[in-house]
């Protein structure tokens, strides 16, 4: 059965009633922590308190509710540091998705619709891009430039634009073959109008879904880079950096490597569940992504 036999894909307001509340709650909390910053965190995230060094989480012997998730080797409050890390994750995710999404979508649309040589060049570019593993790309970039937030964003954009481009290209090519677009062309409808009326509404949904699904990947990527010391640098705080710090104390303080990891996991999990939900609502044909 052809995909177009599905009911019209209006924005399904009725379906919005069954929102995935738990993931949205987690994402909302991350967002609030990112916006609120130090104003709402219980401690100064960089504030040292050597007396609290290696304080375990509150529910363990020796823990206190002053440091609910415990403290690190320098006695910094882990909860406050996790909250501070939200900001970095949100900023990286926002810019990375914005840039890689727009570059990839534009390239994909142009290549998919016009085909021919433009398409061949794009496909070759994607192939080349994919022959350098993204972490390796990050490594040489980090070696060449100052590591930091903007390097992280650049690396992610360089890695992910191709992902968008390929999917959007495929979708445009599939749409282009539809009879209603063939009709529009034979009836003399201009290319910009065909894009606006028939192609962009479809692509828009796909982009929203891809963007949401990418949030988790971006957060993981940023954490990995920061963990290696190639991403966010001290004194900025990121979850990956926290894990990197806590790693050498793995034998004394299990919470040091557990808590930021759980923050990463919950955020990614929520973003992925929400993305899956969006995809099923907006674009049921992309299920295998």
């Amino acid at each position: 059965m052809s995909a177009s036999a599905l009911p019209a894909r209006r924005i399904p307001w009725a379906a919005l009633r069954r929102l995935p509340w738990l993931p949205l709650l987690v994402l909302g909390a991350v967002g609030i922590a990112a916006i609120g910053g130090e104003a709402i965190s219980p401690h100064d995230p960089n504030g040292l308190d050597l007396s609290a060094s290696f304080k375990p989480p509150a529910w363990q012997d020796g823990g206190s509710w002053d440091y609910p998730l415990g403290a690190d080797n320098l006695g910094r409050d882990i909860l406050s540091r996790i909250m501070a890390g939200c900001g970095v994750s949100v900023i990286v995710a926002f810019y990375a998705i914005l840039f890689s999404g727009s570059i990839g979508a534009l390239a994909g649309m142009v290549a998919g619709y016009f085909g021919g040589r433009v398409d061949a060049v794009l496909m070759r570019l994607i192939e080349i891009q994919q022959s350098v593993p993204s972490i390796a790309l990050a490594l040489i970039l980090a070696a060449a430039m100052e590591p930091g937030l903007s390097t992280v964003v650049i690396v992610i954009v360089l890695t992910y634009w191709a992902w968008y481009a390929r999917i959007i290209r495929g979708e445009i090519m599939a749409l282009k073959g539809r009879d209603y677009i063939a009709f529009a062309r034979t009836a003399g409808v201009s290319t910009p109008v065909i894009f606006r009326r028939h192609l962009l509404p479809n692509i828009f949904n796909t982009l929203v879904v891809l963007g949401t699904l990418q949030v988790g990947q971006v957060i993981l990527f940023e954490a990995s880079l920061s963990f290696l010391g190639l991403g966010i640098q001290q004194p900025d705080i990121s979850w990956g950096l926290m894990l990197s710090d806590a790693r050498q104390y793995i034998t004394n303080a299990w919470w040091g490597i557990t808590m930021p990891g759980i923050a990463i996991m919950l955020t990614c999990l929520s973003a992925n569940v929400f993305g899956d939900w969006l995809r099923d609502r907006l674009d049921p044909q992309m299920r295998q992504l």
Binding site: I128, L230, G261, L269, R287
Partner: protein, 306 residues
């Protein structure tokens, strides 16, 4: 078939050439590369000498050609830190990385294929549900964190397996799991959706209508059809393993290319970084080439068409 092999080889060569351009251009982004090629306290005469020696006073395109020329003759320069040719350093470490990546891939495929197949067969059943939960969790956990947790539990707490180093088969277990953990989720999805597609096809329906036992339908007739997306997956994920190896090798002190390159970045040992990244790319392209060529083994249509 020979024409296909030649064409894929040619395309692979183009990709590697493209990768070398990327590596070259980025390595020049920061300005004067000589700074990275010499010790920080090098006298100006040495800098000038090296500049000429590496052709860095030449135009950029010429420099690139020189870089390629040297690379082709196996000369990536000497590692500043190790005082040996960068190429030899990388080649020495390459087997360990391949070993780790292969074990990681084996782990993930050994998990993903049965879970994916059973999830598709019992769609909506308990295996499907548990598989989905695991997939969800897997995709939300970075490889390095999985690695740290594994060390925490199996090395620190239980003391069952070694956390660091290389040598015995026991050493490879934890890093391979850490490396193979993340792709399990995506692989399960691919296997599951490929199987769902096949199980819904006319020829499987006909097989059922002619009384083929369900066991044969699933594990013989359907699975071989699903093998093409599966193979594509193998190529992509072996490549992903090579990328993941940079992180996992660092955690587990695995003496492979990844850890070497990461260390080289911090000591600004640029020849090693260039050689390491380029060789990862070559490995990457080669694995995809192998996968492309193996399609013909499972799908007779491809043997004839191209």
């Amino acid at each position: 078939m020979l024409a296909l092999v030649l064409r894929r080889l040619w395309q692979g060569a183009i990709s590697i050439l493209g990768a070398s351009v990327i590596i070259f251009v980025i390595s020049r982004l920061s300005g004067d590369p000589v700074v990275m090629l010499v010790p920080p306290d090098a006298p100006p005469s040495l800098i000038a000498e090296i500049r000429t020696q590496y052709g860095l006073d030449q135009p950029l395109v010429w420099q690139y050609l020189l870089f390629v020329g040297h690379a082709l003759s196996g000369d990536f320069g000497n590692s500043y830190r190790w005082q040996m040719p960068a190429l030899k350093l990388i080649l020495d470490r390459l087997p360990a990385t391949i070993q780790l990546a292969a074990c990681g891939l084996l782990f993930s495929v050994a998990l993903a294929v049965p879970i994916g197949v059973l999830s598709a067969v019992h769609r909506g059943g308990w295996i499907d549900r548990i598989g989905r939960i695991f997939a969800m969790l897997g995709q939300a956990m970075p490889a390095f964190w999985v690695g740290l947790l594994l060390i925490l539990v199996f090395a620190v707490q239980l003391n069952w397996l070694p956390a660091f180093g290389h040598g015995t088969p026991a050493h490879v277990v934890l890093p391979a799991i850490a490396l193979g953990w993340y792709p399990v989720a995506a692989q399960t999805r691919i296997v599951r959706s490929a199987m769902l597609d096949v199980l819904d096809s006319d020829h499987i329906r006909l097989s059922r209508a002619l009384g083929t036992p369900e066991r044969l339908i699933v594990w013989k007739y359907a699975l071989r059809n699903a093998a093409v997306p599966l193979l594509t997956m193998l190529g992509v994920y072996f490549a992903a393993m090579l990328g993941g190896a940079f992180v996992v090798e660092t955690i587990f002190a695995w003496p492979g290319v990844g850890r070497t390159v990461v260390e080289a970045v911090f000591s600004r040992d640029f020849p090693v970084v260039q050689a390491g990244v380029l060789f990862t790319s070559i490995l990457f392209v080669l694995s995809n080439l192998l996968v492309d060529l193996s399609y013909g083994l499972v799908d007779p249509r491809i043997r004839d068409v191209r």
